[in-house]
Every structure is written in structure tokens, then in C-alpha cells.
Symmetry: D2
Subunit: 289 residues, 4 copies
């Protein structure tokens, strides 16, 4: 990982109807232009006859310049009627983090970023509260406060979207952001908004999942990271994990233990997304980890 | 465990409103009659101010004979207004297993029993199909077939209950039994019927949980063992566990992976129940493992 | 999985020095002969500059007959100086299981096989004891008893090898077989003998690992499935897993809990091996699961 | 947990040779003085015939003042020839953290402390480097730098011990401290120094465990938190956990994944120790979680 992060690489994500010769055509495209494939993951959903591919290659001796790569690949993609994107690793994704008052997910992401775990630029933090401004400042990330009232949501979202556009944000991470985004907002970032829900969805959707879990008397609690769609807590799931609990755990213990889970599950989902390892297909994800 | 299984021990399970001196009184009751405490677990639900106790003692030098123990303890239990039961380990629980066609849970329990993992007598297997009769026979457990049709359920349950009564059954294990028991049947065995549901409840209650999970695109599947109550899949949970899945797993893979989970979760729940380690309080369980 | 098991497929495992164009050449080989790739896994060990590939394709419209496939691929493999093997799924691996007295691993494998989990023929069971003959008989697998004494080991291994050769055995599974195989025996099955060791290797190698674990006071116990090499417990690891234990667990509890782990870890390793998902490179394995 | 942290409670940890009437005597001691037992855990090691107890009671109506409690209990403890300690929850343990350059364990502990997860005072950080001074400052914990050279270790340890004594430190946490403590230092804090080792001990003791794991080709990596004794990596284990790895994980990935494990395992071990839930018996721990 370390050495590959220094050299220039291209990552292609592609999905299309399955047919013969797809790997051959795409691998040959890379080979004939002097690329050396570093990673290749392929999945065929035989039920839906759909093909999914992730391929990473070394650009060192590639005959096409990085800026010309998308245009060079586009004809084949069109011929395949494929959904696709290609990213050069020196073009980092630009990320905005949305938070409210809880600090654990934000700290986790900013700290990991400081260790070089994410090949991304964390450009700004947006919050409906002011409490996490000092934490953002500590990691030198600009903090923007957007006060939210029942009456001003639509207007504030406009301002947020303008800011995100100005900052060329690719990915939004909801790091325990306690506001529901409007459909209009969600539509602006298809498969580009990652949320963490503090339950093993589809159980305990909605509010106060730990209280719901406590009252039901379950023996596990969980966390789910998913892409945000218009239907709350219904988007494609990227990562889930759980922790065992017992009758000795109070509601406070569930919140404490869940906190550890939330930050780890969200951090892993962010890593997978930022390394272009996730493809969305309907309500499901293909995760090439 | 091995040595304690050979000596005569008593296990007391007790629950009552919390107050001062409960442990002192009960431990002193045991001590003054010559019992040596081998295990003691205590839990106080501070929210509900309820006290739960499990205590196991050596009966070797106990001044009261095993048969007289319940009567000797009854006055204190009455004074405490407690729910309680006491069991001598040489009085094994008598168990009936209900199955349909899937063999994995039945094989698991019969095999573990053959290794001496359960201090219980597995007295009979009841099924609405005949396919598992050979497996029962292999482990020398009588097999009873009760054909079920939409019209005869009520009558067949009568016959089953009569058989269970005749055989003095204490505990019923539904080892992937694909029939819903009537309320009348369930009422006959309060906290005495253990079911395995093939999902992490409360998610995917009802039928075809693996198909539901597959279609939702979750990244974990689970199994839940619980006591059966009148509300299907709503009873107090004893054990839950999960396994991670990926986009590569087909519905068939979920069923295969889930099978491993179901048998282990059910086997553990049976062990906990048969060792008198589970107390029920409302919709929850206290599990002293 | 279900549908792919019915159609005829070919699986190629290949390893060679990494260079440009490997995927392109091999995928094109398949494509030009009419094969549709169903699964493709690729790994490059950048430290060692070694390339590993597993590729499965549909043979329905392949222009080369199954019997001619190895010869058709051999020239390219020779050109690449590759280690490789190709297997048609209708040519099942032939498996022998070695056991002593413990039944749990043998039962697990025979039972899974009876459910269709392994695309293999379990041809025979070999044991230095007679106790598991009835279990083998129950699943209709021939049982061979080879009495082992300090003096006759070399001679008995000769007889075993002759039997294995006669039965055209591809893979040997040591399902808690309590004898050390000679180097000569091991040499006859390179990367073809799978063992289960009842600890998380390299901890607690050698005999009585649960006793070692109990005396050390660890909080986890484990199981390791690995290929057998001349150095005991040092072969390439296929699968490992652990379970948490506490101070309440006696040595007997460790053995009981470990039993569950051993059978699951061994069963998974067998499945990976029998689906040709494991490549060996020095002391390590590449596992395309 | 929340409500019990506000009221005044006493926690007694006790270990002695097992005999009849121990729970009765101790519970009665508490009861007769007006204490209400909130938690009681008991363990009997039947092999060693040793008794272990943890008991927490409400001091609200206790007839003996907090300061007089140890003297009041001492006669019974002496009579039982017991190892014991009693702690009032308003007398917080005083903790020193030793670090080198890695920040993840220190950040984890300071952050959890800021959330109120530990009922302790983190009084100071000691390091042989200066790099983590800003992190300590951020959480308002005094930072002390003790430069270590091959020649000055003995002298510097003297200074450290003097500082620790001056600050009345109860517990030392080695949060990835890359220096071996002298026997003399270790003797000053019996069962009072907690270390995190980055492997599942006893595997990969000593230096560079991740490199050892990488070269061995294991499929799991682990972390172990233990009390420090004179024999490096041999002390009584408090907590262990593991994470699964694959052939795709580079040495850098092991270090990254291990980092998450180390901080969680150390944080949990600290919590257990600081809540007086750990008893040491020879090379083992009894952990009442």
C-alpha cells in the first residue's frame, strides 16, 4: 500500500450487463497502453447477469496522459453501455463532514486522516451546532456553523449546497449528524453521502435505536454505514458490525459500547469509499475489499 | 465442571424486589445447613429495582435431604415474595425436540448430548414429517410423527400435549420446527419452549429471513434463540450471533452459512437453559453464563 | 453457486513472476475460445513481485474439449514459467480422511458432504483406531484400520500410501489424527494434506495446546488449519479462528469450546481447498474466498 | 452505571482459600452495617480450592464511615488469611501513562477519560520522547520528558519513581512505551502496571510482532493487555482480541489494523482495572466483567 501510494495509479470502477470477453477487452486496453495491473476484482451477479469490475494499474509507462484517460476509455464504455468512473490517485477526493454534538466519529476520521489512512482532502466540517469547532480547528479543518430551525432548513441547505459546490466536494460524511437531509439535497450527491446509523439495520431504524434495543432485550447491538437515499435508513449498506451485550449493560453502557462500533464502522466505510472500492447496484453494494 | 457434575449439587434461581440483606439471608441459609457455595451470580436491575440470583452449592454435607429442600426454602421465598425454583443436578431435565425436515439443529443437539455436554434426558423427537426418524433412531431417541394439516392442528396439538405430559417433559426445543404453535400450547410451557429464528431479531421476523436479508443487501446475517411466547418471534432472547457476508454470497450461501450459526446459537441457548442459567423478566432474560 | 454447480466450468490456478499483460493474455485465451469468465481473482505480491490468479469460466461454448484443455494451456504456462493447475468441476477431487478417536471433525465433514457442501468424493477413512468405523459406515464411506505401534509405522505408511495411490486420492484431511506423518509420506502429497491444530499457531505448537493455554491463562483459544510440511505445525496456514474464554472456563470447557472451533475451521479450510481457492507460496497461502 | 457513579459506593476485592460460609460471612458483614449490595461476583477455582470475590455496596446508610471501613473489615480479612482491598468510589485511582512516539493508545485513553468513561484521575504522562507533549497538553495532563540513553536508564527510573511517589500514583499504563522497565521499577508496582503488547501472546513475544506475523503468514493478528512482571510479555493477561487478515494485507496494513486493536484492548483493560474488576492469581487473572 505504502509504495503504491507514491506512484501514480489509475482506478477504474465499471458495471455493465454481463457478456463474454469483458475482462479480456478491458485488461487488453490497459496492457496495450503500457499499464501494469496492480489489483483486479471482478464480480458477476449471476441472478441479474450484471458484471462489476475494479481495476488498478500503474501509470508509470502508460502511453496516455492522466488527463486524457477518461476520454480514451469513453468509447469502450459507451460500447458496453457501462456505468463507470476512473480516478487518478493524485487527484484526491474532496470530503465534507457533517456533525452535530457527538465528537467520536469526527475525531476518529480526523485522527485517521492525520495518520495518512485516507487518500483524500478533508476540506471542511459543517454543523448545526458550534460545539465541535475546537476539534476541527485542532486538525486545521475549516468549520462552518449552519443554525437549523424548523423554519430555515430549506434555505440553510441552499447555503450548504452552494458552499459544497464552491469547495468542489465529492463526498459527504454524516458523522452522527442529527438532521434529516431533504430529497433535493440527497439528489445532489447520488452515492456520495455516507451515513452511520447506530443499529444493525433494518432493525431499529429511526430514532433512539439504543433505547429500542435496550427495551427489546437484544443480546447484540450494531452499527450500519450506508449511502443516503431519499428513504431514511434504507440506502445501500456498505459495512455493518455488532458487539455482544448482556443483561448487565445499562442503556448508558449500550451508548458507550455502540460509540466504539459507530466510529470503526464509519471509518472503514469511508476508507472503502475513498479508495473507490464500492459499487452501488440498486439497494445493494459490491465492496471489493 | 467435570468433577462438579459427579457430586450432588443444588441450583437455586430466584428473583424478587430488591432490598437489603438478600444475599446475606440466602447465603446464610445455605451455610447454616452445611452447604458449600460453588457458584454465585447476582444481578440487580437498578432501573426496575429487581434482584436476580443464581446460586449453586455442594449438597455433600447438607443437613436437609434433596427431597426436602424445596419445602425447607419455601418459607423464606414466600417471605421475599420471590419467583424461584431449585433443582438438584441428579434430577435431569426431560427434553422433547420438535423438528420438520432440516437436520442440522437436531443433529447438533443429539451429537452434543452424546458427548455429555447436556445434563439432561432427551426423551423424544416430535415431527410433522417423517424424514428425521432415522437420525433420531441413530441416537436411540424415540421419534413421534404427527401429521399436520390445516384442519387437524388443534387435535394434533392435544395429542402432543398428552404425550409430553405422559413423558413428564420439562423443556421443548424447536429445532427448526416449521409450524406455529397455538397460544394454548405455548401457555402450557411458560419459559419452557426454546426456538431458533434464522435472523438477528427484531430484523427479518417472519418467514424467509434469508431471502429478506439477501434482498435488503445486508452485510451480516444472524440467528436468535428465544423463549416462545404467544407473539411470534417476540419472546425473550437468550442468545444471538451473526456472521459477516459479502456481495459474493448467493441466497444459497446465506442458507449454508446461516445453518452453522443456527445450530451453534441454539445449542448454546439449550446449554444455558438446561444448566438453569437463564431467568426471564418481562421481555428480557438475565443469563448467568 | 447452485446453478454454477450444474454447468460445466473450468478453474485455473496460476502463479508466476509478475509482469505486464498477464491478465490480458490469460483472459484473452479464455475469451477467444468462447469461455465466459464467471469469477476472477488476482493478487500481486508487490514485495516479491509475484502474480497469483484464479479464474473460473463457463465451458458451455468453449471450443476446446475438457480433456484437451490442459494441453491447450500448457504452452502459455510454459512461456510464463508458471506454476499452474486447471480443474474441470465435473472431475471431483478424491479425498481421504485420517482420524484417531475424536469424532467431531469427521462427523462435521461427512455431514457437510451429505448436504452437498463439498464438490468432492470422500473415498475412504483411515484410522489408527477402530472406534470411528460405525460413523464412517453411517455415511457409507469405507473405513480402513491401520494399527500403529512404535515398530511398524514405516511399514504401515507404505500400506497406506499404496491404498491412497490405488484409490487415486488427491487430498488428505487429518481430522484430529494423532500420529505424526513421516517426511516420506508428507513428500508424497505436497500442499495436499490439510491438518487442524487446536491452537492459534504459532502459539501452543506441539501437544496438549489446551492444557498449555489453560496454564498460561490466555483469554482466547484458537484453531489453525494448515497444509502439512515436514516441520510439524509449521506449514502454510489456510484458516484460523478464535473464541473468547474467561477465568470460569476449566480445562474441560476449553476442550469443549475448542471442539466447535476445530470442526468449523477445518471444514472451511477443506471447502476453500476443494474449490481450488488456495495457492501456496513459500510459507504463506493466498486464499481467494 | 450513571446513577451508581453519583452515589457513594464501596468495592471489596478479596481472595482466600475456599471454605464454607465465606459469602454468608461477608454479605452479612455488609448487611448488618446497613449496606445494600449492588453487585456481587464470586468465583471458586475448584482445582486450586481458591475463593475470589468482588462485592459493591451502597454506602448511603452504612453505619461505618468511609475512612473507617478498612479498619472495620481488617479483622475478618485477617481471620480468613485473605488478600484484599477495599476502595470507595469517591477516592479515584491516580494514573500515570507512559508513552513513546505512537499516539493512538494515549489519544484513546485521554479521549475516553474526557467522556467520563474512567472513574480515575489521569495525573501525568511520562515519555522518553517529546512528540506527544502537545497531545497531553490538549487534554490538560502534565507531560514529563525523561530522556533515555543506554547509560542513564537506572538514574532516570529513580527520578520517575520519585515523581510517581510524589504524585501518589496507583496505576501505570504503558501505552506503547518502547522501553523495558527494570525489575526494581516493576517491583514497585505489583499488579499496578498495565501493558499492551501488539500480538496474541504467547505468539510473537518480543520485538516487531507484526513483522513476525507477516513473515509467518498467519490469518489473524492480535493484541494482549497484561500486567507487567519481571519476565517480559509473561505477565498475567487481562484482555486479548484479534482481527482477521488476508494475503492482501501488507505489513503496513497489519500495523494499521493492529493499531485499532491495541487501543481498544488497552482501553478495555484499563477500564476493568480501574473499576477494580481484576484479581491476579499467579500467572492468571480473574476478571469480573
Amino acid at each position: 500500500m505504502d509504495s503504491s501510494e507514491q506512484r501514480l495509479t489509475a482506478t477504474l470502477l465499471l458495471s455493465c450487463a454481463d457478456r463474454r470477453g469483458l475482462v479480456s477487452r478491458i485488461a487488453t486496453f490497459v496492457f496495450e497502453r503500457g499499464g501494469n495491473i496492480l489489483e483486479l476484482n471482478e464480480h458477476v451477479d449471476s441472478g441479474e447477469r450484471q458484471f462489476f469490475l475494479r481495476i488498478v494499474w500503474d501509470m508509470a509507462d502508460f502511453s496516455i496522459g492522466p488527463d486524457d484517460l477518461p476520454a480514451a476509455f469513453a468509447p469502450m464504455a459507451k460500447d458496453l453501455d457501462a456505468d463507470w468512473k476512473v480516478r487518478l490517485n493524485h487527484r484526491k477526493q474532496r470530503v465534507a463532514i457533517f456533525v452535530s454534538n457527538a465528537d467520536h466519529c469526527l475525531l476518529e476520521i480526523l485522527w485517521r486522516h492525520s495518520l495518512g489512512e485516507y487518500n483524500a482532502d478533508i476540506c471542511l466540517v459543517i454543523s448545526n451546532h458550534e460545539s465541535l469547532a475546537p476539534l476541527s480547528a485542532r486538525y486545521n479543518v475549516p468549520f462552518h456553523h449552519f443554525d437549523m430551525t424548523p423554519g430555515n432548513k430549506s434555505q440553510q441547505e441552499e447555503h450548504e449546497l452552494a458552499l459544497l459546490k464552491r469547495e468542489k466536494i465529492d463526498t459527504i460524511v454524516l458523522a452522527r449528524y442529527m438532521q434529516v437531509l431533504s430529497s433535493r439535497f440527497v439528489d445532489s450527491y447520488p452515492a456520495g453521502i455516507i451515513n452511520i446509523h447506530h443499529s444493525f439495520l433494518p432493525a431499529f431504524a429511526g430514532s433512539n435505536p439504543y433505547r429500542q434495543a435496550f427495551e427489546r432485550g437484544v443480546k447484540i447491538i450494531g452499527a450500519t454505514s450506508h449511502y443516503v437515499t431519499k428513504d431514511l435508513d434504507e440506502g445501500p449498506i456498505i459495512q455493518q458490525d455488532i458487539v455482544h451485550i448482556t443483561h448487565r449493560d445499562t442503556l448508558g453502557d449500550l451508548i458507550r459500547k455502540g460509540r466504539d462500533l459507530e466510529r470503526l464502522v464509519l471509518a472503514r466505510a469511508c476508507r472503502l469509499h475513498l479508495e473507490d472500492r464500492v459499487l452501488v447496484h440498486g439497494r445493494k453494494t459490491i465492496v471489493f475489499d
